[in-house]
Amino acid sequence: MTNSIAEIGGAATILAIGTNTTQAPPVLALQAKKAAREGANLIVANPKEIDLCRHATIHLQHRPGTDVALVMGMIKVIVDAGLADMDFINSRCENYDAFVDSLSEFDLPSVEKITGVPGELIGKAAKMYASEGPSSILYCMGITQHCHGTDNVWSLSNLALVTGNLGKANAGVNPLRGQNNVQGSCDMGALPDVYPGYQKVAKPENKLKFETAWGVSLSDQEGLTHSEIFDDIHDGKITSLYLIGENPYLSEANANHAIESMNRLDFLVVQDIFLTETAELADVVLPAASFAEKNGTFSNTERRIQRVRKAIDSPGEALPDWQITAAIAQKMGAKGFDFDDESQIMHEIASVTPSYGGISYDRLEGGGLQWPCPSPDHPGTPTLHLGKFGTPSGKAQFMPLSFRDSAELPDDEYPFLLTTDRSLFHYHTGSMTRRVDGLEQLDSEEFLKINPKDAASLGLEDNEVVQIASRRGQTQAKTKVTKICPPGLVSMTFHFAESPTNVLTSPALDPVAKIPETKVCAVKLEKA
């Protein structure tokens, strides 16, 4: 997030797009609901009539995958109405003219045709966002899990820039990071192209820096991303995989491909707290400590680094993940893994990661610190980009965009568009929440949400088992007949191993972020 969670409550207009915020993450949704209650405008852009719509001033119910058209359409309205913040654009941005040229394809009639949202409503939302600021954008996987997810994000950044809603309090472009430490794993360089602190592998000076710090020589080749790793395993190029706390058996788009790949590995090590579906495939399974059994830090969605503290001992011989990795490294004769405790690791992190340079456990005793926090006397950074942007020129880039369709749209054979979401009561593949009896009682099986009209045309009743098939696989679930989904759109979660939604989803990747398009694929339905 460019801004802090607490700042959402201070926004005058909130645009929540591609986020089912009251289901995930619910405590953050409290801020949006509070702001709306106290008079802020809440614009919800979502193909489904999600719970947050109850609090919304405007609901833009666009077709899945048409975000670029919707947002660029809004920007065109803003520019045409003379509501662009020219002072901000001239002083803090670049590439505006080329960007404005790219707006020509996004006239309201065209946008209305692509998105299915009345042009008038788009215009109203655009003017509200532009003129009743500070305006804050919240987004989540509904924006990123598309084959044009990067374009979606750029469109939101364009919208914020054109109205000067970046680099100031209570505004910003705020991705709501889903998993507890997804921010931290990125910060720590658990990514193929960057070292800790987003220092590019491709830059020789960074490689040199880490070679010096770690006393080894490093590869100058960028690594492979998640989906590419599975492809290379499939092709026999990668033969060993060390997989920690992840369950691709259920979470990976086009899951059958991932399972087939893992079966081809020479050697699979899975490190987890439970024997997940994926762990069953492993050659070696290593027992890890849960969060309640270890010390360390998590970095939340607003970049706040907070202390996790050990409350109890691990069951049996389970160990914290870092101790296991260090033990493997030491068995292999490596140096630089002899840490006594977690604070020593943080010390090393701070020494090589500029944005964590001022972090130490002593300083985290209060409410944590928000990075960038480059030095021991730096107070942390609640709001990013205040005086300048993190680009080489210090200015923000406008990105000209054009609209592209989703990779797989409904046709005669597969007439429904399937999108995925999450349940409030479960988490990811359910390896934790489905072992909590009460949560299981509140939500125990997958439901295919479907509009009453579609259900009627297929002769389906509520709560009836239905067969769902895509070009890649098939599964079953019960129906939940509900107007939450507009006609033509059906929706499932992916929490339930009994109804593995991701055997259906599309592996089409965003070319830049390499995120699979789990939000849009075509399916057909049959009474089971």
Partner: protein, 345 residues
């Protein structure tokens, strides 16, 4: 903020303008009995237990009375005492006398108020009515609703409305038949309730009480392990078991709020299916093994697949320190940048 000075029972205290008399008293550690007030909610003035006398003439509810400079408050004026005693006796007379087996025993605002006022059997007998016999709502897996213990303070209703904006519950019916209910008086599990438990933690009695609650021996401050909000939690520990989770009110992110997963989703921690030893696959089945055996095997296999034959998938679930070491291992020991995690899913 400008300060004012008020006098409570002869004691001069300073208060911020805009505070209520009750808030000013509480800020100085002075107890004025109260039931329907909660610091997170707007004052409702429903229970009338917090009555005080102002400037020697006006009886008023302290939870709604704003402070004014030079104001003189008495909490022990005979008229105040009489009203307060009657009010409390009326509430207690309606309440089941099952304190010793009640979840809220020792932690109950009604007990505290009754002790403070000094409720007597004689006083209660004047009002004693038949305890209402409304069946408990046990439909929610995490908490029960016992209407017979409810004092109708409305704290739950206001929590669900003002703080959660969910509005799953409200008052239903009138007069002596009033009760807290869902739309259509359905079991709470069939209502729009999201099971956040925010109403449960605020209920001053045990009308809303967690199921099978165990008092922890001690609490450890940590962070919720589910989503990216990173809510502060207090993990309640008994022996080697996590038996409760409370929101950390001092955490700047959630200021005490939690969702259903964070508050009630902790039973996976001590789940019997937790992995407790390394496992090695032998003849197609995973068998228990020692750490030495597992590490030797891994070291041998990994040593033979250095470079781009190797990949590691770290996790968005584990700590920064864990992730840092895994990427360091992949890069420095295995000699490849094939490291990613599930950020994209």
């Amino acid at each position: 903020m400008s300060k004012v000075t008020i006098t409570i029972d002869g004691m001069q205290i300073s208060a911020d303008e805009g505070m209520t008399v009750l808030e000013a008293a509480q800020a100085h550690g002075l107890y004025i009995p109260n039931l329907c007030n909660h610091p997170d909610l707007k004052p409702a003035g429903l229970c009338r237990v917090c009555v005080v006398k102002m400037d020697d003439w006006k009886v008023t509810v302290s939870c709604k009375q704003p402070v004014k400079d030079g104001m003189v408050i008495s909490t022990e004026d005979p008229e105040v005492q009489k009203i307060r005693r009657n009010t409390v006796e009326l509430i207690v007379a309606d309440h089941p006398m099952t304190c010793l087996t009640c979840e809220a025993d020792g932690n109950c605002e009604l007990q505290r108020v009754a002790h403070y006022v000094g409720v007597t059997p004689e006083g209660l007998n004047r009002y004693r009515r038949k305890i209402r016999n409304i069946p408990m709502d046990r439909s929610n897996p995490f908490f029960d609703i016992d209407h017979s213990k409810c004092i109708l303070c409305g704290i739950c209703v206001r929590t669900c409305d003002e703080l959660q904006n969910i509005n799953a519950i409200d008052y239903a019916q009138r007069g002596v038949t009033s009760l807290i209910s869902t739309l259509g008086n359905k079991p709470i599990a069939d209502s729009r309730c999201e099971s956040c438990g925010e109403c449960v933690v605020r209920c001053p009695v045990a009308a809303l009480a967690p199921k099978g609650a165990q008092e922890p021996m001690y609490e450890v401050k940590s962070i919720c392990s589910y989503c990216g909000v990173g809510c502060g939690v207090m993990l309640g520990v008994r022996g080697q078991k996590v038996v409760s989770v409370e929101g950390d009110r001092n955490n700047p992110v959630n200021k005490g709020s939690l969702c259903v997963k964070g508050r009630y989703g902790y039973k996976f921690i001590n789940h019997p299916e937790r992995l407790s030893t390394p496992l090695i696959k032998k003849n197609g089945t995973l068998e228990e093994a020692s750490w030495d055996e597992a590490l030797d095997l891994i070291a041998e296999k990994f040593s033979g697949s250095k470079g781009d034959k190797f990949a590691a998938l770290a996790s968005a679930r584990i700590t920064n320190e864990d992730n840092y070491l895994i990427q360091k291992f992949t890069r420095a020991v295995m000699g490849t940048n094939n490291i990613d995690h599930c950020a994209r899913l």
